[in-house]
């Protein structure tokens, strides 16, 4: 198991048996494991998942059970994901806010 990253919010408490998966968040290369959700993989790398749209603050999800919708992230193609219920997939390219329409 990897040492927790200094800015990570979540800590992996038990080993992973699954394959290591590579993904990109806001242009930065990160990795997680098969079996992890997008939320877990992101928060084991960094402190937040999305930019709040009404003020310059960050969010990291809240309920972790598909109810609060505070952990939305976006794929670079504009697809929206609920991070707490979406399995991490190899090669995902994720954003913390919706991409501008001209880039989709």
């Amino acid at each position: 198991m990897d040492e927790p990253l200094p800015h990570a919010r979540f800590i992996r408490a038990v080993p992973r048996n699954g394959k290591r998966l590579q993904f990109v968040f806001e242009g930065e290369a990160m990795s997680g494991f098969e079996g992890e959700t997008v939320l877990t993989a992101l928060l084991c790398n960094t402190g937040h998942v999305r930019q709040f749209e009404f003020s310059a603050t960050l969010r990291a999800g809240f309920c972790i059970m598909a109810a609060c919708q505070d952990c939305w992230v976006w794929c670079e193609d504009g697809t929206r994901l609920r991070a707490c219920t979406t399995p991490l997939a190899d090669g995902m390219r994720l954003l913390s806010s919706p991409p501008p329409p001209e880039q989709v």
């Binding site: 919010r9 080993p15 992973r16 992890e36 937040h48 609060c68 505070d70």
Partner: protein
Amino acid sequence: MKAIVVGGGPAGLRAAMTLAQHGLEPVLLDEAARPGGQGYRSPAPGIALDIAALMGSQKAKYERLHRQFEAARDTIDYRERTSVWAIDGHTLFIERNGHTNVLTFDSLIVASGATDRIVPLPGWTVPGVFSLGGAQIALKDQGALIGRRVAFLGSSPLLALAAKQYQATGATVAGVFDTAPFYAKIRAVPHLLHAPHTALRGLSYLAQLRMSGVPLHFGIEPVRIEGCDRVETLVLRDRTGREMHIDCDAVALGYGLKPETQLAELAGASFAFDKSFRMWLPVIDADGRAGPDLYLAGDGAAIGGADAAEASGTLAALALLADTGHTVAQSQIDRLRASIKRLRRFQRGLATAFAWPHRDAGALPGETIVCRCENVSAGDIRAALGVGLIPPELNRVKAITRCGMGRCQGRMCGPALQEIVAAQSGAPVATVGRLRTQAPIKPIALSAAEMPR
């Protein structure tokens, strides 16, 4: 005869198994990736978590439910990752992998479970604050901790359980901070004796935490969570009014559970205000009947815990079977009714022991964000009521302030909104109304909402 069960927790699993045992071929729709619901959630494949060790005294029940469901799986049309986002008459609108579809039913059992009931506090939107149930799911499903040094805040027997699970898996527990005074727990003893084993288990968690040096505080008042992009300090006041500053990087927040009643409402259930829980609950008979062809079970009908969920799932299925001309054993019905009555009475005791702090919720400081979706503060809500243009009714307040209009549809802010409106207007809480449910009950992409073919 087409029976559909919604929800893959203990109530839904038992309901589906019971229908299958009587020769029906039920469809079981589960929003989650694997059966078990929230409380009996199993680790995702690849996560090497010893779930049996984590479940402790609940290990046997957890394993029995999962084992029996696996054995029955061939007789049940189980569909994981499938959400129901609307109900119209006898038609369910479902979404799976970004595609919608419809399913019709003759009889419906809704076992939609519960979420944490939340009292906001200043700073609760800072990254690192999670619901108490969420903190447990991060651990059970993902083998992950929400932080290195975690504070447990609220009013719930699950605070001590989660703290113990976190401690056992390597987290430092910064403290367990319960807003209910200890004497409230003593006062609840007569109710708690309806399930003495459960009550003793709760006490033993507290004793184990205390012995390991974890700070336990009762009757505290939450003040704020400090930190900009990450939680740094939890500030509380103790019973003497002294401020405590708790160094932590995560907070698990929970004030008991709140039924997910949206589907029941869309399916036609009526609601009544329950004074002990201070919430609107769907009206059901002793077996879970909520309307024609509609049955409710588990925590989504009435907070009762996992044992009551299993029993009420079985009972709702037996009621459905009896109503549709199947032969069922009356002795089994009688036994289940008695058991559910006892377990739900115990939950009423818990509602006293771990009181919902409605006065604190009604008196939240003006700057507190109440609606985390739409960024609406307690002050915004009071200002809207102060203008006098709207009656103190939750749906009107929602229309003016947008509190409860965001993506969670008031799941997180609704209970606090109710108390703020009641306190500000001086109206009895039962008269300020109930946030109405709108379909879709969870956001779905427009691209998914194309007319099914």
